[in-house]
């Protein structure tokens, strides 16, 4: 087992003919991932690395059964692409596109709540399940094994780049990963860490989770509460980057709304304290992920 993506993933790439999307398609196919179709309006009849391209997702769905979409279309068209995926009944939508307007993200996140589907991202580098050789997005590049080997540790990262580095640290510790999820670097994302932990809790292939956190948002505070409430009961090794930002001169706060909504959440020191209080393994230094994980897995 794994979470989100496995050997039953039937994948369509929206915006497949773009420069990066076609390179990623090549790498994913070489890795063993089954990509069924691609969509780029006006390019039906072409193929990318042998994957047939359709004008609309609807036409692609007539030919193939699909349950997973990867969105590579540019920011101005990403909202519509996500709505197209939702409208065609795709259960998992992974949005790679960066710099999508906040309003658009809030809109499609609201739409998923009404349509019972899951969004990962925007601004995700992808998801990988090495046991089933499935990878979505650029994650792992053309040499996934360098960082991502199969095993029983889950990875959740707010940083795309550090998703790979976290998996590499797991490998250095002598283990491998079940599924690694780059949840996206934006403030408005479809699946915050708590939601991914919920999936890992129910995944028999996952024995522990490594989580990469950053300043801002309330994601880590929510995770602490979730762990406190026994929503996640496996070992959770957490690192929160960017502690120096608390010593920087503060940008003058613009308006009063933020303090009335968020209070003092967002500071790395507070995130670390909350996670510690909840019983998580909060590592001071990233190097400590290795020995702490070894202890947790012993």
């Amino acid at each position: 087992m794994a979470i989100l993506v496995d050997k039953n993933s039937k994948i369509v790439i929206q915006g497949i003919t773009g420069r990066e999307a076609s390179m990623v398609t090549k790498h994913a196919l070489a890795y063993g991932t089954k990509i069924v179709a691609g969509v780029t309006p006006g390019k039906e009849g072409q193929n990318v690395e042998g994957v047939p391209v359709f004008d609309t997702l609807k036409r692609a769905c007539r030919e193939f059964e699909m349950n997973t979409a990867v969105v590579y279309v540019p920011p101005a068209f990403a909202y519509d692409a996500v709505m197209e995926a939702i409208g065609n009944g795709i259960a998992l939508i992974v949005i790679i596109t960066e710099r999508i307007p906040q309003q658009d993200a809030v809109r499609f996140i609201a739409a998923t709540r009404q349509n019972n589907c899951t969004i990962i991202g925007p601004n995700s580098v992808g998801i990988i399940t090495p046991a089933d050789r499935v990878k979505l997005g650029a994650i792992g590049g053309d040499n996934a094994e360098r960082c991502f080997v199969s095993g029983s540790v889950g990875v959740i990262s707010r940083s795309g780049g550090m998703t790979a580095e976290c998996a590499w640290m797991v490998k250095q510790a002598g283990f491998g990963v079940s599924t690694c999820v780059s949840i996206g670097g934006d403030a408005f994302i479809g699946s915050p860490p708590k939601e991914i932990l919920r999936l890992f809790e129910n995944d028999s292939a996952t024995e522990a989770v490594v989580m990469w956190g950053e300043p801002g948002t309330r994601y880590e505070e929510d995770v602490a509460e979730f762990v406190n409430n026994k929503g996640f009961t496996k070992p959770l090794i957490a690192y929160i980057a960017g502690r120096f930002v608390e010593t920087m001169p503060e940008g003058t706060v613009f308006g009063h709304a933020a303090s009335m909504i968020e209070g003092d959440s967002g500071k790395p020191s507070i995130k670390m304290a909350r996670l510690r209080e909840a019983g998580c393994h909060v590592v001071e230094n990233f190097n400590d992920v290795i020995p702490i994980l070894q202890d947790a897995m012993a």
Partner: protein, 407 residues
Amino acid sequence: MARVLENIGKDLLKENGVPAPEFRVAATSEASRRAAEQIGCPVVVKALVTAGKRGKAGAVKFAEDPDEAAKIAENLLAMTVHNFPVERVLVERKLDISQELYVSITYDPVQMAPIIITSTAGGIDIEEIAAAHPEKILKYHVNILNGFNLYEAKEIWSDLGLKGSILQKATTILGRLYQLFVKYDCTILEINPLALTPNDELIAAAMLMGVDDDALYRQPYFSKKVEAGSDRAWRPLTVLEKKMIEVDKTEAYRGTARYTEMEGGNIGFFCGGGGGSLLSYDALLRFGGKPANYTEFGGNPPEAKVRGLVKGVLSKPGVQGFYMNLNITNNTQTDIVAKGIIGAFKDLNIDPGKFPAVLRLAGVHDAEARRLCTEAGLEYHGDDITMEDTARIMVEKMRKAFPGEAD
């Protein structure tokens, strides 16, 4: 977020049917005097800067006559408000205010939905009131797919106790504010106070507005009127920061970088990935290093862009070393990054043998990156060591090269 100056925001309010006071923008005390004469005293004189909380910073003053307005303007124009030098002031008709309402609209990052916060106890102490009397604050989440109906605005104000014609006016204004928030891709729109006058008029006396950087492409109204990313700065951008934005704009869709100048320091900092840079900076500080700046880059930048960025990093006065730390890349070509760095050293005539530098550059094409760096005399690391280990090596190298310098 791009912060919108109050004069631009108020023009927008008026265009969209929300009443705001008459105002003029002035850059000298003499112009302020004339503005006060034209508008008619008493007036309010405000520092026109993109910093919030100006009232508490003493940057909002009242004048009874044009001479006083000129004098206040002279003082304000010599002031710095939260590190922002005041270059212009807003001279505005002073309102008779019988009650201060509060309205803000933003996206709630917890519920991931628009949130409207309202109160009939507005003014500069709204946060204290919110903490001491939460019952005086009403928070309302909007279903963004359904939009915001006027009856919802009416319910909000009615629940806060407004009645009669004021209830109707406040309802109309709140409806228009939400439409404006959505139409202009605002990330925050705050009216404080929304002033009630003795004649039962509602007027947006003070306001602030932030616009989504990522939506500026579809908001021509703000073209050349706002500066993207202005909410991140705790001071105006420096000359070098502005220059680095220009470097980043070349081949805009290939690789992105963000440069911030730090006070003092001697290590030129050029690290990769948003997350990896946070880790690298934390680690340098922990080992006693003194970064002079902060550059994060990612997304497979072309060689020329890397070269320009690194030149900028190294050109800050006081930089005596170079630190480049990157997570194992998914798609960034490390050989291209290496070429850019080596080129920058050449352009600046820096001898890598005499200038402490540490690079960790693992990932796509890293055999070539290793060869290039080694040939050029730069200390190269791949995935043989961790990211934190390279920070320790960098700081040790600085200590060895500059033993006299205290930490």
